[in-house]
């Protein structure tokens, strides 16, 4: 297993690599449980969060993760920046590079922008979500949360529900969870299913996906899909695909319920379920910080070692 140079997606990953990273995340979570939540692991490193698409949660999570390990952090967001004035994203990246940064955590609206960035930049690139393509740290934090509940993922059935075609969360989970032994089912309306989702079985039948599932992941429904015409009716979606207590009963009784947030209550998920005993939404946020600490550590220190 070679050292990680960037984290763009899980192409070329094996089980040992995934388990190794999740094990580091576990050590990082111990740090988060201390009264003094800071270690000097990344002292002297500078991490940039470069967000070409707004996402307060992911940005805060990465910045906190870097700071917990004593890295310096600089943030760039598209809003109010020079990008709005027409500067190309390559120029933006090269300008940042001139500031001697070590890692670039990049959120991008289009698939492949992080791959382009990795070709241009000397530092390490962490994909914080590129278009519909990948969101690897989200999948890692989902895996981390599931392992907490289920102990291991071998032979476990994980159901992902919602707008699969447009979801980087679904794509990354479908790549990662089978590496850890899980069987992934993806369910959504026919017009929001991709032609293929490597690593997952596709179905338009919500009940089939939920049947006997060991864990359920509900995706955020983007209201833009209505304007695009790929989702004819929100009412129809809610009727057929909203995850409700009644439908969830098809899954294992203690199946953890995940959502990457932010949540549209009573659209993709019945409001009460979000606060119920099966919900792991808060757990996911905490796992996100630990996983992102582990990723930055592996990329910046693990590489030098």
């Amino acid at each position: 297993m070679g050292a990680l140079t960037h984290l763009l997606d899980f192409e070329g990953w094996d089980r040992a690599q995934a388990e190794n990273l999740l094990e580091t995340a576990r050590l990082m979570e111990e740090v988060l449980e201390r009264p003094m939540k800071k270690v000097p692991a990344l002292k002297g490193f500078t991490v940039a969060t470069v967000f070409f698409e707004p996402s307060t949660r992911t940005k805060i999570s990465f910045e906190l993760a870097a700071r917990r390990m004593s890295a310096d952090v600089v943030g760039f967001s598209k809003a109010g920046s020079s990008l709005a004035k027409g500067e190309s994203f390559k120029d933006t990246l090269l300008t940042l590079q001139a500031m001697a940064l070590d890692a670039y955590v990049i959120r991008a609206p289009v698939a492949g922008m992080v791959h382009q960035a990795a070709r241009w930049l000397r530092g390490v690139v962490v994909n914080a979500g590129d278009g519909r393509r990948a969101h690897p740290t989200q999948a890692l934090l989902d895996a981390y949360t599931l392992l907490d509940d289920l102990g291991g993922l071998d032979g476990k059935k994980v159901a992902i529900i919602g707008d699969i075609a447009n979801s980087r969360v679904a794509r990354s989970n479908a790549q990662l969870l089978p590496l850890l032994g899980a069987t992934v089912w993806a369910a959504g309306p026919a017009g929001l299913l991709p032609e293929d989702l490597p690593g997952a079985r596709l179905t338009a039948d919500l009940d089939e996906a939920l049947e006997d599932a060991d864990a359920v992941m509900v995706l955020r429904l983007q209201r833009e899909r209505m304007g695009e015409g790929t989702l004819p009716s929100l009412r129809e979606y809610v009727a057929d695909y909203q995850v409700t207590a009644k439908r969830l009963a098809r899954a294992k009784p203690t199946a953890p319920l995940l959502h990457p947030g932010p949540m549209n209550r009573d659209v993709e998920i019945e409001g009460a379920l979000a606060d119920g005993p099966q919900s792991r939404v808060e757990r996911q946020v905490r796992a996100g910080e630990a996983v992102r600490m582990a990723v930055l550590y592996h990329l910046l220190v693990g590489r030098a070692a």
């Binding site: 190309s88 289009v110 698939a111 492949g112 922008m113 382009q116 590129d130 519909r132 032609e195």
Partner: protein
């Protein structure tokens, strides 16, 4: 000034013509059996062919000279072995008035490069609504009408366009994609696009439009028949196996239709998209390897009658945007021949005369011109290339303003060494003494 090209292997679209000493004088082929000349080029082991004709290039003039201009485009073409290039009218402003056509042709005559053929828009501002004056454009010297860059959504407008253009003796070229099905697709639709999280442009968008346009053509043929005229419908950059089938059937039926293949659709497949490089972004998109096979087969069989580069230069900064906002287009004038010689003739066994035919007489016939022949009296629009000379593609050395290429670093043979237009040298490689 006279020129003697000695011991060259002569090949034109009609076949292999053996070895000869070709004398060029007063802009024509004066003899195939030697003679006295002011200058002699020793060409043993090299191939002399008619200079190529590109029926589809974007030279970006007027208005987008930052991407390409007539001088850079026509000189790049000459370097690529081309003696003539048909420039697309999707410029700024759009070429749609007779005066614009004349001005372009006049300007091009001053440039030591390939000849310019001018296309004009089929509809005003290429908006697909009101027709341009086909007869006046033909009189001004336009060679073809097209709204390339846009798709012709209104079948009625296209039908009337074919009728007026046909009456004026002009072919109509179409970028055949159904705009609705194509949507915002940036790459070939299918499992790979789904996996890469990119929006797909399905091959059905092309096939659906080809099928419709063939019916429109049938209608125009019927309407023109009493006038003793025939329209000609030219499908640009055909990219998929299904479209090829439709065109083959239409030709078998005798419909006046010609399909074009491009260097990129003949040599690259969607698999290259795993690199997420906007240099590969082109419309219609690169398809599957099965489509590439079908195109190569159709080219050999003659179901596709011409190779057009669809040379579409943009600035490097534009091609370094993200995959959604980067513009469509691949520049190829300077590599097209060596690329196709290497990939189709040397590697796949396509007969050389067939490749030459599809790059000379094939497109010329579509434009209503005489086939290009290596015979005494023919215009000395010639191209000499060396099948044994292997070099890497070096985009930084391109004459074109678009100094990048999806074939950068490819080892190719068959590079053009000498290009003549009316007997005048418009390209000479350093390898020619």
């Amino acid at each position: 000034m006279s020129l003697l090209i000695k011991n060259a292997r002569l090949v034109d679209g009609s076949g292999e013509l053996g070895t000869a000493d070709v004398l060029v004088a007063e802009g024509r082929i004066a003899s195939l059996s030697g003679g006295d000349a002011a200058r002699v080029v020793e060409a043993a082991g090299k191939v002399l062919a008619p200079a190529l004709t590109d029926p589809h290039a974007h030279l970006r003039t007027p208005g987008q000279e930052v991407k390409e201009d007539l001088a850079s485009g026509l000189r790049a073409a000459a370097r690529g072995g081309y003696g003539a290039v048909l420039a697309m009218p999707n410029t700024d402003p759009v070429v749609q008035e007779p005066e614009q056509v004349q001005a372009l042709l006049d300007e091009a005559r001053k440039i030591p490069g390939a000849r310019l053929f001018a296309a004009a828009a089929l509809t005003r501002d290429q908006a697909g609504e009101r027709l341009t004056p086909a007869a006046l454009l033909a009189q001004a010297g336009a060679s073809l009408l097209t709204d390339d860059g846009r798709t012709n959504e209104d079948a009625g407008v296209l039908a009337r366009g074919l009728i007026y253009a046909g009456a004026a003796g002009l072919p109509v070229a179409v970028h055949a994609e159904d705009a609705g099905l194509r949507g915002g697709g940036v790459m070939n639709d299918g499992r790979l696009a789904a996996e890469l999280g990119l929006s797909g442009n399905p091959h059905e968008a092309e096939a659906a439009r080809v099928a419709r346009d063939l019916e429109v053509l049938r209608y125009a043929v019927r309407k023109l028949e009493p006038l003793g005229r025939r329209p000609l419908l030219y499908f640009q950059h055909v990219s998929s196996a299904r479209s090829v089938e439709l065109i083959r059937a239409a030709r078998a039926e005798g419909l006046p239709v010609c399909g074009e293949a491009t260097p990129h659709h003949l040599t690259l497949s969607e698999d290259a998209w795993r690199d997420f490089d906007p240099l590969l972004k082109v419309a219609p998109p690169l398809r599957t390897t099965a489509d590439v096979e079908a195109l190569a087969g159709a080219l050999e069989a003659g179901d596709l009658c011409a190779i057009g580069t669809d040379h579409a230069p943009h600035t490097r900064a534009e091609k370094e945007r993200d995959l959604e906002s980067a513009p469509f287009g691949i520049p190829s004038l300077e590599v097209a021949f060596a690329l196709l010689y290497t990939e189709l003739v040397a590697k796949r066994g396509l007969p050389l005369p067939v490749l030459i035919e599809r790059m000379t007489s094939g497109p010329r016939r579509a434009l209503g011109l005489e086939p290009a022949r290596l015979e005494v009296g023919a215009p000395a629009d010639l191209m000499l290339f060396d099948p044994g000379l292997e070099r890497s593609v070096e985009p930084e050395k391109f004459i074109s303003k678009a100094r990048y290429s999806p074939w950068a670093g490819w080892r190719l043979s068959g590079w053009p060494l000498l290009t003549l237009v009316a007997g005048k040298e418009v390209w000479r490689d350093a390898a020619v003494a």
